[in-house]
Subunit: 549 residues, 2 copies
């Protein structure tokens, strides 16, 4: 039996478009001689559909699409993820399911057993879990078909396992001849190596070939990195699809290829690909063709602009320099040089006349002291307004340029530099922004050296430097990571060699900036814990930082 894995990039709720794509891949698989073509989890509707899963019209359309797919492709076997009705009298109205289609019908219907309900996942909100999921038969083979989290039973949360049952092992014990897992497994930096090990372990432990079909492409904050793959019964990788792009791979079950080396790319190259995928798909799935980026001459805006050009092409990116009296001459030159290197449209709109107009209109209320936060915010907001006016006028979107370090401690202005439809660096710490800049400059000096080398500054008051207001980034970033990703408290972080008072100050800033993050645009998740849908924090709250021993 020849099995094809169709690693597709569906658009959430675009049933007609997704169905066309699925039929196209099915046709290609057939022409390659496949007897079975496998699509990812929720391939018909995209993942995550969130509260659309609670919409009866959505569920009906999704079921209708499966029916159409089955009727139109009778010869080849198709495995596809969708949402199916829960026929029991209790529980959530739908299952997260995989259908096996053949001869015009749903020949087998399997549900997901383990429902991830943490971080960005809310599956217990929507789905009723399977009670059991034994193999089904096709062409004389028993196929154990599991869905994403079903293959992650072994994962630990601290010293504890989340789940008590191992659906994949149960299928092997039920005499499966091969194992297939369909997934929508999001990208996180470095995760792929771990994921490959897990899937390989299933093959090896159960002495069965293991087929893993993952989704690819970006959906709001989440990027799927694809990398669908096949393991032989010794757990050796024999085939792997490409990363961050649609792909179709074919393997003959009765004549598996010999082992190959996994393709490895550096973590920073991988992050760059994820961000480019996230930007590209957010724009295309929102049906927006151009972006505007405020260019300060600094490294963050340079990196965002370069990523935007790689995602969308230079014709669709406009860089806007909006200098003030606090902008250094170098900043303006660097912004212009970047735009030239990238070959993009470049606009220069000085903000001093607008800044003066606000000072005049508000003179009885402002302090007149440029160090005052309200005076600094006005400048950032003028820039936000200009970018939004340009985007509104031309039907484009603004990309914000802030990084995760700033957003963590609230070193950013709501309705100012936080104005925009997507925040590509909001999950990228400042130290990683530097790495990205070097990665972007690997083959040519796209980002001016001076943008990379000069001390970071918001340039909202005279001679301002980030380090006057924040701990230096080489200290700040590890503290942020320890608290946000690893959930460590003041004690544990101090023990890593940071001053207790600095740690406490940083953690307090994180608490206080929650109201800003609540109104931030979506970011692109590259870390185990990104701000956004996967991190839910109260705003009105007390602090227990001082209670800790």
């Amino acid at each position: 039996m020849k099995i094809a894995l169709a690693q597709i990039n569906p658009t959430i709720a675009d049933f007609n478009g997704n169905l066309r794509k699925i039929e196209d891949f099915t046709t290609r698989a057939r022409s390659l001689g496949a007897h079975l073509v496998v699509f990812p989890e929720q391939a018909l509707s995209g993942y995550p559909a969130l509260d659309l899963w609670e919409d009866p019209s959505f569920v009906r359309e999704n079921a209708l699409a499966v029916k159409k797919l089955a009727e139109k492709n009778r010869e080849i076997g198709i495995i596809i993820g969708f949402s199916s009705e829960n026929k029991a009298r209790f529980g959530k109205p739908i299952h997260n399911s995989a259908a096996f289609l053949h001869q015009g019908k749903i020949k087998a219907l399997k549900h997901k057993t383990l429902l991830p309900t943490y971080d960005v996942f809310d599956e217990a909100r929507y789905f009723e879990p399977a009670k059991s999921n034994p193999p089904f038969k096709f062409k004389g083979k028993n196929i154990g078909l599991s869905i994403c989290e079903d293959a992650w039973f072994d994962e630990k949360n601290g010293s504890r396992k989340l789940y008590q049952t191992d659906p994949v092992a149960l299928q092997a014990q039920s005499f499966a001849d091969l194992l297939i897992n369909i997934s929508a497994s999001p990208f996180i930096r470095g995760k792929n190596i771990h994921r490959r090990k897990i899937m390989s372990a299933h093959a090896k432990k159960n002495k069965l070939p293991f087929f893993y079909c993952n989704m690819t492409g970006g959906n709001d904050e989440i990027v799927f990195d694809g990398r669908s793959c096949v393991f032989d019964r010794q757990g050796r990788l024999v085939k792997e699809a490409r990363a961050f792009i649609e792909d179709l791979i074919l393997v003959d079950l009765d004549n598996l290829p010999s082992a190959i080396l996994a393709e490895e790319i550096s973590e920073i190259a991988e992050i760059k690909s994820a961000l480019i995928t996230g930007i590209r798909d957010y724009l295309s799935k929102c049906k927006i063709s151009k972006v505007f980026v405020g260019l300060s001459g600094g490294i963050d805006s340079a990196v965002v602009c370069a990523l935007a050009v790689e995602s969308l092409g230079k014709e669709r990116v406009t860089g806007v320099s909006m200098p003030s009296s606090y902008s250094s001459k170098g900043s303006i030159i660097d912004a212009q040089a970047l735009a030239k290197n990238l070959g993009i449209r470049f606009l220069k709109i000085p903000i001093s006349p607008l800044h003066s107009a606000y000072q005049e209109s508000l003179k009885s209320f402002l302090s007149g002291n440029p160090a005052d936060a309200s005076e600094q915010n006005i400048q950032a907001r003028i820039r936000g307004n200009i970018l939004m006016a340009l985007a509104n006028r031309e039907g484009g979107m603004v990309l914000t340029t802030g990084n995760k370090s700033e957003l963590s401690v609230g070193y950013c202005t709501l309705y100012g530099d936080m104005s925009g439809g997507l925040a590509p660096l909001a999950d990228v710490p400042k130290e990683t922004v530097y790495e990205l800049a070097h990665e972007i400059n690997k083959n040519a000096d796209i980002i001016p050296k001076s943008s990379i080398e000069k001390a970071p500054s918001a340039e909202l008051k005279p001679n301002q430097k980030d380090e006057d207001d924040l701990p230096p980034y080489p200290a700040l970033d590890p503290i942020l990571k320890a608290h946000i990703e690893k959930k460590l408290g003041v004690d544990a972080i101090s023990k890593q060699g940071f001053s207790r008072s600095v740690v406490k100050d940083v953690l307090r800033r994180i608490e206080l900036a929650e109201y800003k993050r609540r109104q931030a645009p979506p970011s692109i998740k590259i870390s185990p814990k990104a701000f956004g849908v996967g991190r839910r924090m109260p705003i009105a709250r007390g602090s227990y930082l001082d209670d800790a021993p």
Copy 2:
């Protein structure tokens, strides 16, 4: 046995403050002769603590607080909600628990069985459910102690029940002498009548007295309305605590009072109280003392301003009129009259000079046509900037004034009229805003009649009226409710007597405005489905409105 129900308003994560409050209520209960004092679900940490429940420091502090409470109050029995460690090797690390404290120790520890995971609730994200929850003994009585959702087993989701077990009935079958439920049950318009029926039914069905202790106060989007109550074994209400305020009620189990009539207030009065509670607690729990409200002369801003004054007092509210050349003379007069009626500080800052400055700075990019959206947005953004500058300067917060009808269809400007820390009307449809205005004016003409009577207008272009851009509110509001609250599609809504093309247009607008709502400030939930944490929608997506039959 005398039992006190302590209906408190904790602040999330303020363990010291909450503990002081709990000890104060415990002392009061003792002085009234209580043998047992009952506090709400998660009384020590506040509800919902969201991802703080995943923070080991938070969980440790919460456990420490229970220990301190037990040690300091040895004579009286205390029932209190907190998070306790899951000691099993599998599952989520904590339970949503109730401790029975006596003689310095935790004498009984009970966990929640039914974990709500829908709308604003994410309990399966954090908590491991109880496997069983039999009664415990105190003073010769078997007490069946359940937590919030445990008492809602009978609720239906369409034709389906969510849960298969009825924890309260199981306690009655295990020879409970009385039933106690501790809750953090959010306010929704009209819900209290239904809730009272459910609790009464438990008492009647099981022929046992039923004690219901609910939380009160606001936490971000959620307001708890209190109304703790006691039913006799015939299901008759015998005692009820006040709504939207802390309260302590005492009942002698061996000599229950005779039946009373439940206190009923009108739905609009109840909504008004919820909004006032929500504003008051958001400000106090964020430790912010003053608010700024942009006064357009229209009904929305007038209602927000009047609610703010009732919440905070007139000294802490500033109304700001920011007229443009499109503002009618009446609008300015109405804004001023409202401020005078409320006795608040009133500022007038015309935006024309700033508007001209933007037009000058952007003249090569804007159309010069005031009907163009980018030109309208600039005006809204200037106003947002002015309000934010005032709030930043004085350490206050801006209240936005938009209503749910506008936010649903995106008839609002990001970083413009959407700028602010809290959106009091974002779950209040326009038609209900009118009712609120009449409720506010019940005893005196606070809101000028002309603000209520004139046709709604954004006043961002000459002679603009909402009805030129949107269906009239008496049609729009029921369509929105049918889709957002009842999840009906084009077909079902059209059958209620609305034109199919209008319905489709409205639903499409709702889809397209998702990106704006993602960046909206928190609202105050008064409906079964508010925007915010309880409604999660993808932004980048396709539409299936045209696929529907």
